[in-house]
Homo-oligomer: 199 residues x 2
Amino acid sequence: MHSSFDPSLPPPTVREEDCPFCAIAAAHPPFSAINPPHPFPSNLTEPASFVVLSTPTAIAFLDILPLSHGHLLLCTRAHRPKLTDVTNPEARELGSYIRLLSAALVRATGIADWNVVQNNGAAAAQVVPHMHYHLIPRPEIRASGRYRESFTMFGRGQREELDEDEAEQLAEELRQQIADILREEEDDRERRKKHSQKL
Amino acid sequence: MHSSFDPSLPPPTVREEDCPFCAIAAAHPPFSAINPPHPFPSNLTEPASFVVLSTPTAIAFLDILPLSHGHLLLCTRAHRPKLTDVTNPEARELGSYIRLLSAALVRATGIADWNVVQNNGAAAAQVVPHMHYHLIPRPEIRASGRYRESFTMFGRGQREELDEDEAEQLAEELRQQIADILREEEDDRERRKKHSQKL
């Protein structure tokens, strides 16, 4: 499902019951992002899935062939092949989650730069035909000297299989950071409400 | 501002008053997306800008160095360097506009596949430090035989300057498609409301 994109192959046609992202969504009912379960099971699917956010609308988890440490996917809970198949309320929620996941990813990895990528259709290198946003941390290329690798996208580059122990730890850290950010933003809203009532 | 990304250069620091996207936003007050002005001025900025959507929150326009015909940018009206600088309500609106612009782009270009890309920071190939989503149509690569070119991203590939007459026409078509889609979705909501009242 994450194999390299081969333009000579016909576009994938995947039924909902064969969709790997639908399988992850089905195995993971929504949980409170501000109070995530702990410990969290990663063995509900085969291969294991490292879920960091699960809502009635969307689900986010680590890519099993990451382009960099922290490579996340965010998709709709419902099977939507392309971004244009998404409802407007879903699109709004996704917009909000991309921001939230970005902030959590920066905190959890310590990497300040990242790409958000969303591919629609075989010609755009979409491999799993269930719409998803990639969030890909980009470590400082001058430090690592790996300029070419750091720009790998579209399945052409070096993608290594996810180390499961590392993934377990990173997913836990991400769930905690998401909860922290939501709590901070809630506190911030409360403070501003109180402040405006005083005026 | 759209020049190739050079990793040996320091990350750009652009003040709001020097930001090219702030200049486009300042020259283009919000207009009704369902009833766009016609004709529409493209000469309010230097270089010309081909705006297809302008709301209190966001603005979308053609990239002046497109990777493909129809290459669009969507950014916040306010100067937000990265996606994490965006407010949650802005993030939700952007999520909705990406869906709307995607649908309009598919109709206006006839190209069914496209990428959505959003780069944060120099290491992630962000060139203009005012957050923006790219929408990049990907013509069928088997038809064109231009496999490598069609995957160009991050300013490394062949980007040609926008032809202004072509851009004028395309922007007009995009504004019309956006209006049509919004009208269709409004009609659809009305129909469903009436239907549910009958039940």
